[in-house]
Subunit: 249 residues, 4 copies
Amino acid sequence: MATKQAFAVIAGVGPGTGAAIAKKFASLYSVVLLARSPASYEATAKEINEAGGTAVGFSADVQDEASVKNAFDEAAKKFAGQPLAAAIYNVGGVFVRKPFLEQSVDDFKLGYQTSVLGAFIFAQTALPHLLKSAKSSPALEYPPSLFFTGATGALKGSPYLQSFSPGKFAQRSLTQSLAKEFGPEGVHVSHLVVDGIIDTPKTKGWLKDGPEGNKIEPDAIAETYLALHKQPKTTWTWELDIRPYVEKW
Amino acid sequence: MATKQAFAVIAGVGPGTGAAIAKKFASLYSVVLLARSPASYEATAKEINEAGGTAVGFSADVQDEASVKNAFDEAAKKFAGQPLAAAIYNVGGVFVRKPFLEQSVDDFKLGYQTSVLGAFIFAQTALPHLLKSAKSSPALEYPPSLFFTGATGALKGSPYLQSFSPGKFAQRSLTQSLAKEFGPEGVHVSHLVVDGIIDTPKTKGWLKDGPEGNKIEPDAIAETYLALHKQPKTTWTWELDIRPYVEKW
Amino acid sequence: MATKQAFAVIAGVGPGTGAAIAKKFASLYSVVLLARSPASYEATAKEINEAGGTAVGFSADVQDEASVKNAFDEAAKKFAGQPLAAAIYNVGGVFVRKPFLEQSVDDFKLGYQTSVLGAFIFAQTALPHLLKSAKSSPALEYPPSLFFTGATGALKGSPYLQSFSPGKFAQRSLTQSLAKEFGPEGVHVSHLVVDGIIDTPKTKGWLKDGPEGNKIEPDAIAETYLALHKQPKTTWTWELDIRPYVEKW
Amino acid sequence: MATKQAFAVIAGVGPGTGAAIAKKFASLYSVVLLARSPASYEATAKEINEAGGTAVGFSADVQDEASVKNAFDEAAKKFAGQPLAAAIYNVGGVFVRKPFLEQSVDDFKLGYQTSVLGAFIFAQTALPHLLKSAKSSPALEYPPSLFFTGATGALKGSPYLQSFSPGKFAQRSLTQSLAKEFGPEGVHVSHLVVDGIIDTPKTKGWLKDGPEGNKIEPDAIAETYLALHKQPKTTWTWELDIRPYVEKW
């Protein structure tokens, strides 16, 4: 089946959304996991491979063009002749939360580098592959996708978060520009605004006093990514929000 | 199976999005079709029933409380004891497109009545049923949903469209207020912004000179509604946009 | 001087923003005050006239076309031959704040009627005069203006406020459509989003425990309206927000 | 008079908006002009000084903390004991307009560096002075202001503009975060979205075939900055848009 013979690349695959997306897309494609350190992707790759899927991880620093290009080249070699079905940028913005006047220029750059510079480099590296997939024959079952994980901070600024929110705003702009430029070329670009706490090992103890179900399920996020990926090109979503039923907004 | 024993109500089921949504939800639920005239729902109901689903249509005027209440009462009687799984307001805004100074007060009211007054009445009638479903035991497989079809005009005003866009802005506001009020009660409220020409019998000849696939497919819209309906309550989307890959925006 | 020989119409002139706008514009123009009851405009008219300005009040119901048209006709007769320099719709949205399921259809219509139906009628009545002013020779010193007072509820929906916010969203849309249609004809259309409690007799006791200056000053709002009115047509603002320095948003 | 004994700093003072803002604020304050090269500010400084105002220019690179800090220190020394009344960041985003896949990482960084990194550094340097002004006694006549010039690209992404728009989105976010953090401290933070071609020597020949007045007047922009600066702290605008009457949007 055509779809099995393609691969997907997910950048940012720590335990949580990235791992869940990788597992979900592994039901359709071979998956390539990118993270700075193997520790971030090894468990997920193992889990997918043991479940009968195909996963391979590469260490890559999304802020480093050569590093990302190298990972894509390795992946293309590994899955020679297969089209790229999806490229998903799920790298969390790294930032500091502190009073503006205590933030350093380096603090400020952190959010920029992870949220938008990395997204720029990832998009530039993935797009030639995705454009080729869009024109490939026989066509993939679903249009090639370039998806980005956003956050509440992509829509509103907040005190103490100047090293986070500007990067997320910038990433959102980037995805819109890309959607408008590459949509007509057959690449589906989406921006998913995750508004709430995601249920991960790291957040296990958070919001304990709230009602049950007050954290976002990574698997359900991944299901939403997959639903967008399956949209035909006549009917594409650029942006949606995701939040728990009890979230105030 | 629990999900088969529930019903969904779709208001606005002319040939196009409404019919496609009805057919899609008929794969999970019995469906109730509301339209002003039986001519709007008969063919779709017949098609669903002949395909092994269960569909029933009622004439209702969404601007008339008693009419909508009556239709829900009839539906509740027909599917006695079953929970309401989804209520979808897909009534197209009726409006005139002409210079502002040539619009009459009645022209202006048209868009308001169809886009938002009808949505208000529909929501008020559906919500007690949906709240009951949210608390029902055994629970439905998917959280009860209250969805609304929006349009580009919900996000920006345009010349000559004063009888359309204000109603759609108002509907969008209504859906957000409802999402915030009833989300914590377990009802999933969403607003889907359809931005582009939908491929229906009426638009058959439109955009003929454009590239292939430049109209939105009703079936793919319906698939997106279904994907949102399946989101667990930890991971809900309030709003998304839908447009063809070549749409300028 | 040209500007003295023109008039402005302000609808919604209770004690607060409307009265402040009237007094501010009375420094440039004769002002016409519209309100449902003379009690709403008499004190302001008197104050303006005693201070050497010219003010006249007319009773009008903004939801009633004939009533608004009659008031403009009377004003045009009173200031025969003078151009209309500004028309300002400052009618507060009337609404109820209660759980959605306790709101009646009539409650819901309240906000619509005051926030947007009235605005539609006011705009339709004022625009022929404003268009004539835009083409008048010698030109007015400042472009003719059509301004609307909006609210936080024009930008976000909230629980319990379904009878308020949809009307304000709709009004916002209306103003944008009008700005796009009549801007090129020389009429400046603006929407001012007032986000916070305005300091009026009615709100005297509110927010008493907060810091000094936590309510919006009507006179400063009026100053902002005047600043927008003075913008040349090369450099127009459609929308701005106004809030106290301590407001959370 | 108190206001004469204060100073304002304007960064980005080439011929156009920056020069106009400098001249406008010179009617109230001594003004400090920052630009990378003296050629950018000399003519404006001369014009202000010859007209009886006080202007002084400093070369500064807004991307370089030390350079900006040095300029503020020099200014503080020059106007010893005077409060800073306003700091205005009007540095144009530098960018390339070309297909995304032809943009380099350095191209992409350009827009970021000028639109938001520079804004961050400028804000961090100006804020301690502005906070001191906010608490100064006797108070300044108008609250100290920190204003930023934005663009259409701050609100929507566009093809080929990935090196511009993300930086402007980020800057917008930064200004909102600052407004929320420092508004309660008495500093007025605003973001002015300039949507259209500004009438400058550089754009002299642009839009020649359009109607008269289709470019934004720098002097009128400056007047709008001044109007915002004069708002009392009870009644502040964070954001407004500015465009010519004929602009499509």
